[in-house]
Symmetry: C2
Subunit: 597 residues, 2 copies
């Protein structure tokens, strides 16, 4: 059975030494966050994930969810108890404001917990994860009454949440949505239609499920400007929060999928179900985007999470499995063969994964910090800068983390040779589970379009200009330091590739939008690789400083510096390939008639 240990120390190093979490002490919820408190919280988080969630990962995959004849769904054995422990530990309520039943602590800590929980059991972690996303949408766009009624039981983990967008004919293109909302006269609506691919749509973990559902109010404009968002509870709560009548929503079937078998992916049938409008009519997409942006970061972290847990297991196998001898002569002459970690190509795979994991974790935590600043700072300029960064990075993190998370799970599986293909070793489950993250919450091609079509041009390119400025300042600040050269020089070259690509887009995509579409995927990955590179520069700087300050940390910090060099030498050069593809333009790609494919 695969094992998992939460990377608490690495997370604390990133928070304390690299991101200097302490700088944010003035934000609400951050005041008491000393390194010791953060360490205690993350250690508790890790313990729960290691002890309660990870042991259910393989059995959850093997047994899956079961839809019963009455339409109820039974989650895998043990999930209900684990969910209760998760909720009781306060892990759902952690970032929720105190007035709505939460603890008001930094979302940044939630982000770390989300990574740990997803590594331990991705299918499980979706239940609380979706609940947190629904909570975010509700808290941003719900009425005071709605917030008071729904948020506390969700924060406490008595109810869970879902998001209902997709319909059979309508995935990316939400304008095609046909689910109907008819006014009931009492201020509520009657919701009718079918939603598909609804994660955690039905289960037995909690007494109630709060569905957030996109639907079209009768007579609303066609397209995306006629879509509204509704709360459709499985059981309609009374005004005092007690459970009332069963609503007209049910799970019609659950999908047989490639992975995440522990999470029920439901066809949800709405048959005149009672629904309550959230926010303004016809502005439903806006409200849903709050949930989707939070969910996109959550999905990004799923990519990282599978990469991390797959890495840990591949590393353990590489140290244990004896096969062949080192090219430079036996390293374990007393044994029949050397452990395979002596082989350069095994190290290549491990280092490619590790060089992603540590910097990606830094980027995820930095994004979460930006989210905290954007929501909690009283400094408007700081809020705007954080929002810009978050808007720019959300599609990049979703697209790149899930692509590389999957690739890395595949690499880690490869380290196992034939055993990687056998179910009992657990590696192939990481691959199957990781695969969905590239697809849902907007397939990665859609993330790329969102980046290039919306996030880049927004406000005259303010966010990307700030990215360049921050990058130049970071690199400039270290350029005089000889020890930083191996990191600063390649990062400078990569940043320059990104600037060229951005310039090319400005000059070539306005008049010819297909050039933007054709460039989008490579641009997303180019920006992502540069962001990882800049994060490695920050990590390297922190490691050099920490090493000088705490000599007993030298070996650990040297390992980080080696990994940083590996990233710079072998991974960051990819930026020039991405640039070459971008400037190739759309002509060849678009010239083939569909029937000639």
């Amino acid at each position: 059975m695969p094992s998992y240990r939460a990377p608490v120390d690495d997370t604390l190093f990133l928070l304390n030494d690299v991101l200097q979490f302490q700088r944010f002490g003035n934000l609400p919820g951050f005041a008491d966050m000393s390194p010791d408190v953060a360490s205690q919280i993350l250690s508790e988080a890790g313990k729960l994930c290691e002890e309660a969630l990870a042991p259910l990962n393989q059995s959850g995959d093997a047994n899956g969810c079961k839809r019963n004849a009455d339409g109820s769904v039974t989650a895998p054995a043990g999930f209900k108890r684990a969910f209760e422990a998760y909720a009781a530990g306060g892990w759902i309520s952690l970032p929720v404001p105190e007035e709505y039943g939460g603890q008001g602590l930094p979302y940044t800590l939630s982000m770390a917990m989300n990574e740990f929980a997803s590594s331990a059991n991705m299918a499980f972690a979706m239940y609380p994860g979706l609940t947190q996303g629904a909570l975010a949408a509700l808290l941003t766009h719900g009425s005071e009454e709605q917030k008071k009624l729904y948020a506390p039981p969700m924060a406490e983990g008595r109810w869970t949440g879902t998001m209902n967008l997709t319909e059979p004919q309508c995935g990316t293109d939400l304008g095609l949505l046909t689910t109907k909302a008819a006014p009931r006269g009492d201020g509520g609506y009657s919701i009718t239609g079918q939603k598909i691919f609804i994660s955690a749509g039905e289960h037995d973990l909690t007494e109630n499920i709060v569905h957030l559902v996109l639907a079209r109010i009768e007579g609303a404009p066609a397209g995306v400007k006629g879509i509204s968002l509704f709360i459709v509870p499985k059981i309609v709560p009374n005004a005092d929060g007690s459970l009332g009548a069963r609503n007209g929503v049910s799970c019609g079937s659950i999908e047989e999928k490639m992975g995440i078998h522990g999470n029920a992916t439901c066809v949800m049938n709405y048959d005149g179900a009672q629904g309550f409008l959230i926010g303004e009519a016809n502005r439903g997409l806006n409200a849903m985007f709050v949930m989707m942006n939070e969910a996109r970061l959550g999905v990004a972290v799923q990519g990282l999470s599978q990469s991390e847990v797959a890495y840990q297991n591949a590393l353990a196998y590489a140290k244990e499995r004896l096969q062949g001898r080192a090219l430079t002569g036996p390293k374990a002459p007393d044994k029949k063969a050397d452990p395979i970690i002596v082989h350069p190509d095994i190290r290549r795979m491990l280092l490619e994964i590790r060089a992603f994991n540590e910097a990606a974790r830094g980027l995820a935590l930095a994004a979460a910090l930006d989210s905290d600043v954007a929501h909690r700072s009283d400094d408007a300029a700081a809020r705007q800068a954080a929002e810009d960064r978050l808007g720019l990075m959300t599609p990049v993190l979703k697209g790149m983390f899930t692509d590389l998370g999957f690739d890395n799970a595949v690499k880690a599986q490869q380290v196992f040779g034939g055993h990687g293909y056998i179910r009992e070793w657990g590696m192939e489950q990481f691959v199957r589970d990781a695969r969905i993250a590239m697809i849902y919450e907007g397939a990665n091609g859609i993330q790329a379009l969102d980046l290039v079509g919306r996030k880049l041009p927004r406000e005259g390119g303010r966010a990307i200009m700030a990215f360049f400025k921050d990058g130049a300042e970071l690199l400039g600040g270290h350029s005089a330091n000889e020890a930083m050269k191996p990191y600063v020089v390649p990062a400078q070259a990569a940043l320059s590739d990104l600037q060229k690509a951005s310039m090319w887009l400005m000059q070539n995509a306005m008049a010819k939008p297909d050039n933007a579409g054709a460039a989008s995927y490579d641009y997303m990955h180019l920006l992502g690789r540069v962001a990882l590179g800049l994060m490695w520069v920050r990590i390297a700087a922190a490691a050099i400083e920490k090493k000088a300050r705490e000599p007993d940390m030298a070996a650990l910090m040297d390992a980080k510096l080696t990994t940083a060099r590996f990233y710079m030498e072998r991974m960051l050069p990819e930026t020039s390939l991405r640039l070459a593809r971008i400037v190739a333009g759309a002509d060849t790609m678009m010239s083939l008639a569909p029937e000639m494919f």
Copy 2:
């Protein structure tokens, strides 16, 4: 349910126009191979695969193989009848010499059939595929008596074959092998030990199974120089070929795997089973390598096969699925949305797959032709040149085709969005099935080491020097042709990257073998990308010529030229990234102590 149409026309174009198959009319078995005959044979092959094999692919995956209480194994429903049809069609015997029950036709045609069969049903195609591999080893190293006894029933498909190398402690490192062979006094041996991961190790398709088993004769030297190869029939045949007694070999269990569920992956227990030495004692690896090299090409083609069938289905979906509008305005204004093939990023994915498939098919057929020349030509120089090319390209094709075949199946799945993750659409099966090809017959890292450590330096680099010479001649021959410039110029740059990388290896890997190990994977992919590029140059030249000669083929040929340009603009530039990684060397990678990972 996914669909499949065998690419008969493209195969014929490659054989007739690009590879000029007719040039080989002097080889045994090629004389009657007019384009018409080849077309008939391939059409029949395609028909069988489309009609008899493809319909069993999803059900074979869903139902899998079943080991019964008596140790027998039942293949999925329909497989037995399909295997009989496959055998009756002469598809196993096709390349086998007539004196051993075969038809003596070109192996090149078998290669085409193997692709079709693997696309239609990869798990199924392994049964005849392994039989052909075992036949090849038997015909090369078996005694006349062994050949007469075993080859005809295998060629007829009454018996199948397997290869038994792996043991729990011994995968790549065959020196660790412990299965024992004790002389019985009658010239035979008694085989005892356990083999794992034995594909098609037990099943109910045929009356007998011929296991080729590596074992160590008592008293043999330690390591790989003490390994011998044995025939161990499931049922020992009498001298007249009739079935005799059940042998002491049985299937202990079958593995639960990620994919290829239609093929039983067996733990095989040898308990004093009667075995017959093939070839010389202690030279078993040599004999097995014949089977492994044939099997490696077969596995390479599995990569291509999954890429092809996944492409076909993704393309059909991209033409049908309506979602969003083209960036340049509606293309299907009468419909609610445009088919997603209007979107550049969808085209990017499709073209990346297609640009691989067509050139890879050309390389596979070229390798098969080399195999035919190496085995059948009476011109020693031609045989040697073909053997050199085949030796060099076999690990490259195995490694690159299976890596890209898997990546392409993932891309094709991505085109389907959420539906790609759902089992009934069939795309996730292609991904799961394709995954094994990167692992078995030598994990791809081992292919890379074989290339860099053995194939490159052999005979003073004769094979790679010939590759450079052939490449330079090909490009030189087209350099004066303006119409060929878009293909020749990028191919020249890529070839130059390969030359630089080869030079770097010569200068840096002798003294420091870790540099070879660290470079190996990138070198394999670099050589592979260049080989695909040179094949696209050949295809482009043939397309330009055919277009001039046959005006009604112009649209088809233009599509090939567009795909060639796409390859040159967007895929071939990867060679410079591979070169950059290679010359980064091993220092960073090897400097991290195992405990610091």
